[in-house]
Amino acid sequence: MRPLRWLLPVLLASGLILTASLPPPQIELGPQQTVVTINPKLGVHTRLTDEVEAIKIKLTLQMVREMGARWIVEYFPWAYLEPVAGIFDWAHADLVVDHANRQGLAVIARLGMVPGWARPPDSPSSYLSTDHYPDFGRFVSAFAAHFAGRVRHLIIWNEPNLALEWGFQPISPEDYSQLLALVYRQAKVANPGVQVLAGALAPALAEPGSEWGMDDLEYLRRMYAAGASASFDALAVHAYGWLYPADDPPQPGVVNFRRVELLRQLMVEQGDSRKSIFITEGGWNDHPRWTRAVTPAERIRYTLQAYQLAQGWDWCQAVALWAFRYPWAAGSYLDYFTFVTPEFEPKPIYWEVQKYALGE
């Protein structure tokens, strides 16, 4: 009997070890899908960066397609993909991109977030010093090469006109233009067909000299003055409506959805009329108490209005509103930007957008 008493725990332990060492179950991509939609510019910003489960990644993207969105913007953090200098980990990014492509979705990749090895200790992850511009360029180049044929549009950084997103360094369109030039050259060498999107600029009404941000119109003007025109194929813009309907007229002193038309006007004045704009974040919030929120009914109306407006803008290729779903609840007003809950329950706005996309 004594040997048998030892055998059972050993068998149990062996079983546990074996189970723990097995690779996670593979989630099949499934058959190639096509997005059915009356508005080919309809898009959303997904948030799959921290979604580890393949089944949830697939389900999210399936629901995006079923809603009628053809475009997604997704964040691919440099810090996650190159955790050690020179060593790339593409596994999660491959999962997201391959599932997106299989669902018939076009991926616009936002690139940013500085790894710890490329910035000083205790600095924010948005801190990129000029001596590490070549490292970022090398990363973008590797990304462009790795995803050639699968991802065609790359957004270089995010909201560089906000101090929070520029590592709390002095906001500098000139430095950003320098970064853009370096990245553009390297990306095109790696993948000549890749489209480099500058920005994405945050709508901001900052006072001149503000330490917190720079007016997006002023920022774009200074980018052009710094020669940035030669370093981007399209402009990424964030278009939040806050309290205003989508068709509220654009004014330099107002942040509303149509502020994007002012940026477009600036591009045309600078001779860039042939370049497109991609709206890569935007939309409305319907928290019942946030001071920048509208009612749920207004959010639905304004969102549909925004998608319809963009159809008439021949210079706008996509409107990807924020945000489709978070992997977990934020527990704040941020949750009221989403279309689907973390538990994959579609919100009423999801159904209304779907009805619109199906032409109902």
Partner: protein
């Protein structure tokens, strides 16, 4: 050679020592002295995002006002201190707490289980979740005990179109046979439909219900809490004395009726 019994007891002993060591490591974390500093300086630094009336907002003079402002002031008073408000965007509240820019966050904050290694949360002081509401005249002694499937079968329920209440109602349609959802452009219209007898029930969040109950005293009855959106305060995990003091202060405020008085004032 050791017998298997001896080896077994040695394994148990090793496990017990490991557990005791872990307990000592956790329980032995020194308090960071925040409460002592608060008492010495007479200032409790309160972090909040002043863009959520009626909980926190800025008045015309730029001063912080609202339910959470009153709550924080009352908590500070029980610590023999005054509340000093530090307005921070919601995204930055935890960073402000970690960076010791504030001592406590009182800002319609939701409990986040992913942060409990770094943050201590108080018990909930308010629930803003969705509630099933019925006209008071239709509520009997057994209404609150009936299963929802039975309570709502064949009923008409009014909601604000697109709201979390709308979502709840659509979910309930899968459970209660014949439940019809009537969506209105505003919560006010949904309420009007309920009071006019055009609906049998409605779903509102906790704040809206308080506000409607004040404007229509005695006409509404909350029958069931459908979702949980509890608000808590947060302190640094190492500020254990402060956390305990705040928990005690909250309990005192609840028992004394002060929390209820704040709800009456602000909702």
């Amino acid at each position: 050679m050791l017998s298997w019994r001896t080896r077994r007891w040695m394994a148990f002993g090793a496990a017990a020592l490991a557990l005791a060591g872990a307990w000592l490591m956790l329980a032995g974390r020194p308090d960071d002295g925040t409460l002592e500093r608060v008492r010495q300086t007479g200032v409790l630094r309160v972090g909040l995002d002043a863009s959520f009336p009626p909980f926190e907002a800025l008045d015309s003079g730029g001063q912080v006002t609202g339910y959470d402002a009153d709550l924080a002031t009352a908590l500070a008073a029980r610590l023999a201190a005054r509340a000093e408000f530090v307005t921070v965007g919601y995204d930055g509240l935890y960073e402000a707490l970690a960076a010791n820019r504030v001592d406590v966050v009182v800002s319609s904050l939701a409990y986040d289980p992913r942060r409990t290694r770094d943050v201590a949360y108080s018990p909930a002081y308010f629930n803003a979740g969705q509630q099933l509401v019925m006209p008071a005249g239709l509520v009997t002694a057994t209404t609150g005990t009936l299963p929802l499937t039975e309570l709502l079968a064949g009923k008409r329920i009014s909601v604000e179109w697109g709201s979390p209440g709308d979502m709840e109602a659509r979910r309930l349609q899968h459970e209660a046979a014949g439940l019809r959802v009537q969506a209105f452009a505003s919560a006010g219209e949904a309420l009007a439909a309920l009071l006019a007898g055009e609906a049998d029930a409605a779903i509102f969040d906790g704040v809206a219900l308080h506000q409607f109950s004040r404007s229509h005293p005695g006409q509404l009855s909350a029958v069931r809490q459908l979702t949980d959106e509890s608000y808590v305060t947060a302190t640094r995990i190492n500020a254990r004395s402060l956390a305990q003091a705040i928990d005690q202060a909250l309990d005192d405020l609840r028992r004394s009726g002060a929390l209820e008085a704040m709800e009456t004032k602000w909702f």
